[in-house]
């Protein structure tokens, strides 16, 4: 299991962070949803609260757990920082004190149910913050740049 660093833990706690869970169906077709309640557990797992038993995400998470497939979680901060975390669902809690605690939090905020508390073990964290990825890309792949971006600055000349 990969360790979530302090920056990611902070983003997970920040309610302004956009949090997305992407799963795949039996045909490999991706399905991404925002996960309003996404958070980290004390043990360092990602915790996704699934409110709907028959949602595509709930079924895809189960399929991933059953057949050892990965899912992807994306975090986007309001300042542009972005991370993609790949991991595997390892547990679905439907009863017990942890489930109850989350159930009560959901019920305090929404007229909704809680189908399952999904624990996702992070395996790899990728920093997808654009300015950082752009710098890396331009350093490593200098032939991918459009030449007009590299030309000297010129005044607008008369039309030819």
């Amino acid at each position: 299991m990969s360790t979530l660093n302090a920056e990611i833990l902070h983003l997970l706690e920040d309610p302004t962070t956009t949090k997305v869970v992407a799963t795949t169906d039996e045909f490999g077709i991706p399905y991404a949803i925002t996960s309003t309640f996404l958070q980290a557990s004390a043990a360092g797992e990602l915790v996704h609260l699934e409110l709907l038993e028959k949602s595509a995400t709930n079924r895809n998470l189960l399929r991933s757990l059953w057949f050892d497939k990965k899912v992807s979680v994306s975090l986007l901060a309001t300042d542009g920082r972005s991370f993609v975390i790949q991991g595997k669902p390892v547990r679905a809690l439907i009863s017990g004190p942890v489930f109850r605690g989350h159930y009560e939090k959901v019920r305090a905020l929404l007229d909704a149910d809680l189908a399952a508390v999904w624990l996702i073990e992070p395996e790899e964290v990728v920093n997808e913050t654009f300015v950082q990825r752009k710098a890396e890309e331009e350093e490593r792949f200098p032939f991918s740049v459009h030449l007009d971006r590299l030309t000297v600055e010129r005044c607008n000349s008369a039309s030819r």
């Binding site: 038993e53 079924r59 059953w66 390892v90 679905a92 439907i94 009863s95 004190p97 009560e104 809680l114």
Partner: protein, 419 residues
């Protein structure tokens, strides 16, 4: 040749079956094998059993394979949220061990850890007593998401010796009454009191479940059973805002008039009448009371009729899978059993009635108690077959799935269905 194949299937290991059916989740195969072979709790595993945190055995209407009644873990949860409903089994019968490894509970087979498990959490009301002084856990019990009520712990088919051959309900009733002081017949008002208390716990229950032994008496046969259920459900219903609430009842195959009463006069939303074995000859042999009072064909007809009342996907029947192979009258091979059982299940499915199975656990004190159940391969093929019928006829199983029952490997497979 068929016998040789059957013997080979019997000897298959868990790993063999997992490799043979890559489309079936390993966890469901593990669950099925544990249900097939039972469990033995090591001393270390029992040391972490805490009655204030975990559910312990006690109120169930059927007994354990080792015939003991002392407090032990009620059952197990897998990490996909699926339950393994199984009972303690003598070591000489080769059960899985439940052992403590690095502070966690594991299923262990041949010295190898197989899968992590948890004990079922105890609901809050287990710590309370009713107004008449009975421990509430002796009036209602729990599964991880289901509230169980077993209002009548006797089955009148036994009055003339016609109890089902695999069933130990009466034996268990006597033990429960003597050793745990569980009432044989519950007071409906007291059931209502306990249900009201149970529903205080947030997020604990998503269905109310009711079952008891058959009661043949009444103006028409089974009218007394229906009256009693209506009385109980009436008390339960007082705690809900709407007339209908998520609920399941396993009862006798009632007449249309009786079913209409159950549906119209209570909050009941789904109905199950267990046919036990999907073959007329074997039904007559293994379920002589059901055969005497209703009959196989009439049982099926009443199930189909129930769909008109409860709706498609709200009616099903259960089978005790494995008794169709019991000697001396059972099918000779697992292939034949599978073909015949699935053909009958399809006949029901095509008319809106689902079929679920439980793995037969031969129990002491029953006529079939000294026999073996079927191979793991057979149970996995049966689970696939019943699930595929559910897909073919688009039958939802939400009222009898992993959350609301947890005892059916076939309905576990249906968790991936969008309906």
């Amino acid at each position: 040749m068929a016998d040789a194949a059957a013997r080979k299937a019997t000897q298959d290991s868990l790993q063999d079956v997992v490799a043979r059916y890559p489309e079936v989740p390993r966890l469901i195969i593990v669950k099925t094998d544990v249900q097939r072979r039972g469990v033995f709790y090591t001393d270390k595993a029992l040391e972490v059993l805490d009655e204030t945190l975990h559910q312990v055995t006690g109120t169930h209407i059927f007994g354990a394979r080792d015939g003991q009644l002392e407090a032990r873990p009620e059952s197990l949860l897998l990490r996909d949220g699926t339950s393994i409903i199984t009972t303690p089994t003598p070591l000489e019968d080769n059960p899985y061990l439940v052992d403590l490894i690095d502070g966690k509970l594991w299923l262990v087979d041949a010295g190898e850890p197989v899968e992590e498990v948890e004990y079922w959490p105890a609901p809050d009301f287990y710590a309370l007593t009713s107004s008449s002084g009975i421990p509430m856990k002796n009036i209602a019990s729990a599964r991880p998401q289901r509230l169980n009520i077993f209002p009548y712990r006797y089955c009148t088919f036994w009055n003339n010796g016609n109890g089902c051959t695999f069933c130990d309900i009466v034996c268990q009733l006597k033990k429960g009454k003597e050793e745990l002081q569980i009432p044989a017949r519950l007071n409906p008002a007291e059931v209502g009191e306990v249900v009201g208390e149970a529903l205080r716990e947030p997020g604990r229950f998503s269905a109310v479940f009711l079952t008891s032994g058959s009661i043949t008496s009444g103006k028409e046969p089974f009218d007394d059973e229906v009256d009693y259920y209506i009385e109980i459900l009436g008390e339960v219903g007082k705690h809900f805002r709407e007339k209908k609430y998520p609920s399941q009842m396993i009862g006798t195959a009632f007449t249309k008039r009786q079913l209409e009463r159950l549906y119209n006069e209570t909050g009941l939303m789904s109905y199950t009448a267990d046919i036990e074995v999907l073959n007329e000859d074997l039904f007559n042999r293994h379920c002589p009371g059901k055969a005497e009072w209703i009959g196989y064909r009439e049982w099926k007809r009443r199930l189909v009729e129930a769909v008109d009342i409860f709706g498609p996907g709200r009616v099903n029947t259960g089978i005790v899978a494995g008794i169709e192979l019991a000697r001396p009258y059972g099918f000779r091979t697992e292939d034949e059993a599978l073909e015949r059982v699935l053909a009958e299940a399809e006949d029901l499915a095509s008319q809106g009635v689902g079929t679920v199975f439980i793995v037969w656990s031969p129990r002491p004190g029953t006529p079939l108690g000294d026999q073996k159940n079927a191979s793991l391969d057979y149970y996995i093929r049966l689970a696939k077959g019943l699930h595929e019928l559910r897909v073919k006829y688009r039958l939802p199983i939400g009222f009898d799935d992993y959350r609301h029952c947890g005892n059916h490997p076939d309905s576990d497979l249906s968790r991936l269905l969008p309906y």
